[in-house]
Symmetry: C2
Subunit: 272 residues, 2 copies
Amino acid sequence: MASRLVAIESADDPRIADFRDIRERDLTGRQNRFIAEGTVVLRVLVEASHGGRFATEKVLLLRNRVDGVAAILERLPDDVPVYVAEADVLDRIVGFHLHRGVLALGRREVVGTELVDRLPERSLVLVGCGISNHDNAGSMFRNAAAFKADAIFLDETSCDPLYRKAVRVSVGSVLSVPYERKGTALDVLTRLAASGFAIWTLSPRGETDIRAIPPTDRMALVVGTEGEGLPPALLERFQSARIPQSEGLDSLNVATATGIALFAMSSAAKLI
Amino acid sequence: MASRLVAIESADDPRIADFRDIRERDLTGRQNRFIAEGTVVLRVLVEASHGGRFATEKVLLLRNRVDGVAAILERLPDDVPVYVAEADVLDRIVGFHLHRGVLALGRREVVGTELVDRLPERSLVLVGCGISNHDNAGSMFRNAAAFKADAIFLDETSCDPLYRKAVRVSVGSVLSVPYERKGTALDVLTRLAASGFAIWTLSPRGETDIRAIPPTDRMALVVGTEGEGLPPALLERFQSARIPQSEGLDSLNVATATGIALFAMSSAAKLI
C-alpha cells in the first residue's frame, strides 16, 4: 500500500492542480469532473466507479488519514494515483481547512441510454424543478437514497448535483442514485407520464393528502424550489398532493418536505 | 407613521449599537436579547410580544423597506423606536449585506411557571438533546410549528434557539412554539414521563416503526444530535422508534428525521 503513495511537497505541484482553491470554483462545468470529500463519499465514489457511471481519477489525502481509508484504497484500480500531503501543504492547496483530509477527483461517464428507459417496471422517482440551492439538491439525493427512490430527474434550471457542496450534503448519494438533468420540467413530466408514471406534484395547496395517494407501480413525486414553488402551469396539468400541516405558516423547508413526501409514497408502495 | 421613524445617519450612532456586527456576535447571552431578521420574523415577533413571552425593544429598517412593513409597525407599541437607515449606513452597521433590510432587537421575558405545567391534557412535544447546530435547532422549531407540536424541550447542552441563525432558519417559529432549555436530557425525560408523557426516543436502531406508534394523549419525541445520536443510557431507559429506510446508509439529516417523525406522530394523534 505504502508503495502507491506519492508525496506532495508543494501546493504548486501540477499533479494536484485540480484540488486547488476548490471552495471558490465549480469544477462540474469542466468535462464532468467533480470533487468528493470525506471518507464516506470516497467510499461511495470508489464503489460507484466499479459500476461504470463514474470514475475515480486521483485521490489526495492528509498523511494521517491514510490508515483510515486503507480498505477503500484497496478497491481502487492500480493506475489511480494516490497523493499524500502534510496538513500545511494540504490547507494551502485547497484554500481552506474543512476538507476533512480526504479528497478525490471524480469523473462522470457519459451513459448512452435514457434514464427513463432503464427504470424497472415498479419504480418511484423524484423530479426536481428549479432546485438551484446546492444544499437542497444534496438533501434530495440523501432522502431519495433513504426511501429507495429508483432515480432522480432534474430539469435544466436545477443546479448540477455534482457541485462540491451538493455531493457533500448528499453524503455521496448523488453517486449512488441514478439521475438525469436536462430539458424543461414539462418535457420531463410529459415523458414520465408517457412511460406510465402517475405524476404527483407537491404543493401546500395540493388536492390529495400525501397520506392518501393510491399506490401504483410507477409513481413520480415532483418538487419545486422553496419560495416560488412549482409553476402554476404544472400544478394545473398534473395531479397535486399536499403535506397536511398548520395553516398560516410558511411551507416546510424543501428538503424536509421532500423527505416526508418520499417517506409517505415509499410507505404506500410498500418499499419501506 | 412617518412621524415615528428616526433617521440614523452614522453607523456609530449609539442608539443602534445593538445591531452592530451581528454576524459575529451572539447576543443571547446578554440579558435575553436576540436579533430578528426579515419581514416574516418581525411579524411573528410583534405578535409574540402581545402574548407576553417576548418584547420588541427596537426596530431598524432599510429606508426602502418601510412601506412593506407598515402594517406590522402599526401593531408595535408607540414607545418602541423605529430607526431607518440608507443601504450604505445599514451595511456598515450590521457588517454584512444579507439582512434583507428588516431587523429588530427582541427580548425574552422570564416566565415563572414550568413549561410542563402549562401543557394541555392532550399534547405532543419535541425534546432535543445536544442539538448544537443552529440550523438544526431552527429547523426543529419550524417542523414543530408545522405539525402542531405544543412545546419543545431542549437539554442544557443544546444551543440557545434565539441565536440569530436559528431564529432565521425557524422562520420565526422559535417565537411561536413555547420552549424551555435547561437540565440534563435525563432530567427532562424523567419529568415528562412523570407528567404522563409516553417517551419515544428516535434512533436508526429504534424498536418500533414510527408508523406503528400507538397514539396516546401525551407523547414526546426525543431526538439527538446528528452523528453521535442519543446516548445509549437514554435509548435503553425509554421506548425507541425508528424511521424505516434503506440499510447501510448514514441516517437521515436530523432536521428531516425530526420532520418525518413529527409528521407520523401528529398523524397518529390526529392533529393533522
